[in-house]
């Protein structure tokens, strides 16, 4: 048993020291943003309130932590150092001179490094899944709100169908190794992942259809880039072999997008129904613009305020969903360092050891808190206009 430990103060100083790339990056970004806040539009206005500054700082903190994870973390998240099983915080690893700042877990891995690497998983999946959910929800919500009638009735019924599913039941049914075998996630992914391509295709087509040369370039770019990513993700058939995704991660991704798209759909539909009665929409209709041009270039830009706020909240919500998945051991590998899985492992042993539970708990909470504060500050700012 290693007996050499360092004190609480040394742990705090050591941890702060490990985060050095984050502090430097934060200092640069915040100083620049604060100096030029007058020219940065909505983002710059965030620096006018304490809540906004706190939100931006926390979000950037976790973003940079995820980016520099390999520099910050002293150990590999999966490496086990046998003597360090359930080590108390601040135990020095024999022969290496490095410290387990937050102690070791029951499999003798460094809790601190796992927390740092866990941020990577969360910060990749949560924003990406939210972006997809936003695009799927928008693409379906715009016509539902704009046309109304039968399209609206059908799409709303489908959205309510998914919303009536308790999230946890949906996950238990959709995120299992058995489901991956049947190829169902790949099929859902093929439907979902085509939506952004259609979305951007329509977006540029409606705007630039009178300028065929520019349009041809844009379309070619969308089809080549989008098709490449699409082939890689949905069919696992990237011709260059660069883009591929683990089937289990795809399964999680699809489940999360599936669970949060109907919420976006409802918001976009409501906003569209409100905005379509405005004069500028009537003007565009009189000009003879096509419905999709009106939806994408007249209505959507004017709905961006509430949508940005919703996106912030939704990333936080998605983070919570990912944690729920990890907590129930669904989808992610058992040794995965993500926060939910870490909380699950640690909470079973809470009676004997509490130190492995606290870092992932605090990490998840602060990240979601940062996003919520950001959303709150954005909402305040958009109300001022």
């Amino acid at each position: 048993m290693p007996t050499e430990t360092i004190g609480a103060l040394a742990i705090i100083i050591g941890v702060i020291g490990r985060f050095w790339p984050v502090w430097i990056a934060l200092a640069i970004v915040l100083t620049l943003s604060f100096t030029f806040r007058g020219r940065l539009g909505l983002y710059g206005q965030l620096f006018e309130s304490g809540v906004g500054v706190a939100g931006v700082t926390i979000c950037f903190f976790w973003l940079f932590t995820a980016m520099f994870a390999h520099v910050i973390a002293p150990f590999d998240p999966l490496t086990q150092v046998a003597v360090m099983k359930d080590a108390m915080p601040g135990t020095v690893v024999p022969d290496q001179g490095l410290v387990y700042y937050f102690g070791g877990d029951k499999l003798a891995r460094d809790v601190f490094s796992r927390m740092i690497f866990g941020s990577r998983i969360v910060l990749i999946i949560a924003p990406a899944a939210t972006a997809f959910a936003l695009m799927v929800g928008t693409t379906l919500g715009l016509p539902a709100g704009y046309y109304g009638g039968k399209i609206d009735a059908l799409l709303s019924f489908l959205a309510n169908l998914v919303l009536a599913f308790p999230v946890i039941l949906l996950f238990y049914l959709l995120v299992t190794p058995g489901i991956v075998e049947t190829g169902l996630p790949h099929w859902i992914a093929r439907v979902f992942f085509i939506v952004p391509i259609i979305f951007f295709g329509t977006l540029f087509f409606t705007r630039y259809k009178n300028r065929p040369q520019l349009l041809a370039v844009q379309m070619a770019l969308i089809v080549i880039l989008g098709g490449w990513v699409y082939l890689g993700l949905a069919f696992d058939a990237d011709p260059l072999g660069i883009i591929s995704i683990d089937p289990n991660q795809l399964n999680i991704f699809v489940a999360v997008v599936f669970a949060s798209s109907p919420g976006v759909f409802r918001i976009v539909r409501g906003l569209t129904m409100d905005i379509k009665t405005r004069d500028y929409v009537a003007a565009a209709q009189t000009r003879g613009e096509s419905p999709w041009y009106i939806m994408l270039w007249e209505i959507l830009p004017n709905a961006r305020g509430p949508l940005i706020v919703d996106a912030c909240l939704r990333i936080g919500y998605t983070t919570i969903l990912l944690g729920t998945l990890g907590y129930f051991g669904l989808g992610l590998a058992p040794e995965s360092p993500d926060w939910g899985t870490a909380i699950k492992d640690a909470s079973r042993l809470l009676r004997s050891f509490i130190h492995p539970a606290l870092p992932p708990v605090v990490a998840l909470m602060t990240f979601v808190l940062g996003l919520n504060l950001l959303a709150d500050a954005l909402r305040e700012q958009s109300l001022k206009d």
Binding site: L161, Y172, L174, G178, G340, S347, V361
Partner: protein
């Protein structure tokens, strides 16, 4: 109003039908049936025996026939013992009749739980009762606290109380159950030792403050922030209305304006929000009951899903979908009832 309720009820039935069909499809996918057969027999059973078990118990019949049997519109056939040629019940522990019969949801028969080896109704309804008790205490703490926080914060917009309470409620919305559960357990069970970190004893020995506070606290905290924010927003809006200014100008004290004039109008929006909070509470129930080992609905759902217990899982989804849709209906009706402007339209 009656026509409205009737229309909503029929949509509700259609939704339930669609959802159970989807759930039925997903739990009858091949890997899931295999999982069921393995859990019923043995890990090392050869593939042919698994197949014959599935065949014998009717899992290989046509998908729609089986869905119809579960609904109760198609007759359930008993299994035939190949040795004697006699009809035998499929699951002995459920007292299934040996002659063809209609036995489905429409007849009030929820089927047979393969995991707990009892009829689903015998397992599901006591579990729902336990969860009902938990829900009651959660609501009894969550609603008054959150309304109070919301009203105090929204009463004077922008004041120090408002800002402090707002940040506090944002913090609680950032704390999902599995986070607050761990934090509370660490503080109250591990460090202070005031409360029990497990509610397992609540099922047999009855509820005490010692074993039940942590689950209730954990579940309530996540909802408090959300409802408080909604109450605050609606209170802020009401406080800027003309009739509040009139009441103030005619010399009423601030306290009595808040209680007599603002409160009733400010509580319409939170009512809807509280009702729509139920679906989320359902997820919370699953997390909290797993975390604190309380044998309620959530615990049953996790067990059913883990073992692919088909009938029990269908029963659980039926109940949860019903809860979600029914609370939506109540919230719509209640909203119309509380807000006269909607009723006239």
């Amino acid at each position: 109003m009656l026509a409205f309720i009737f229309r909503r009820l029929s949509t509700m039935l259609l939704t339930m039908l669609c959802l159970t069909l989807i759930v039925f499809y997903m739990i009858n996918l091949e890997p899931n049936l295999k999982k069921l057969a393995i859990s019923q027999l043995d890990m090392r059973t050869p593939a042919e025996q698994l197949e014959s078990w599935l065949e014998k118990n009717g899992y290989r019949q046509n998908f729609f026939v089986r869905y119809g049997q579960w609904l109760g519109v198609v007759q359930k056939q008993p299994a035939i013992d190949p040795a004697t040629g006699n009809a035998v019940p499929r699951f002995r522990y459920c007292n299934e009749p040996t002659e063809p019969h209609y036995g489905g949801i429409l007849q009030g028969d929820f089927g047979c739980s393969t995991k707990f080896k009892v009829p689903v109704a015998q397992k599901l309804f006591p579990a729902l009762g336990s969860t009902g008790i938990l829900m009651f205490w959660v609501m009894a703490t969550m609603v008054p606290i959150s309304l109070l926080i919301g009203i105090l914060a929204g009463m004077r917009e922008g004041s120090r109380t408002d800002r402090t309470l707002s940040v506090a409620s944002i913090t609680t919305t950032a704390t999902p159950e599995y986070v607050s559960g761990v934090i509370f357990s660490v503080i109250f069970a591990s460090w202070l030792g005031w409360l029990n970190g497990s509610a397992a004893s609540a099922t047999n020995q009855g509820i005490t403050f010692y074993n039940f506070t942590l689950p209730v606290m954990t579940m309530a905290i996540y909802g408090i922030g959300y409802i408080a924010r909604m109450t605050r927003a609606s209170m802020v809006e009401v406080m800027t209305q003309q009739y509040i200014r009139t009441a103030r100008l005619k010399g009423l004290s601030f306290g009595s304006v808040v209680v007599k004039h603002a409160l009733r109008n400010a509580l319409i929006a939170p009512f809807t929000v509280i009702m729509l909070q139920f679906p989320w509470l359902l997820t919370g129930v699953v997390i909290v009951e797993t975390m604190f080992r309380y044998q309620g609905f959530g615990f049953t759902l996790v067990e059913a899903a883990g073992n692919n217990d088909i009938d029990l899982l269908l029963g659980c989804s039926l109940v949860s979908v019903f809860v979600v849709l029914f609370t939506q209906l109540i919230s719509d009706i209640g909203y119309a009832y509380l807000n006269p402007r909607i009723r006239v339209q």
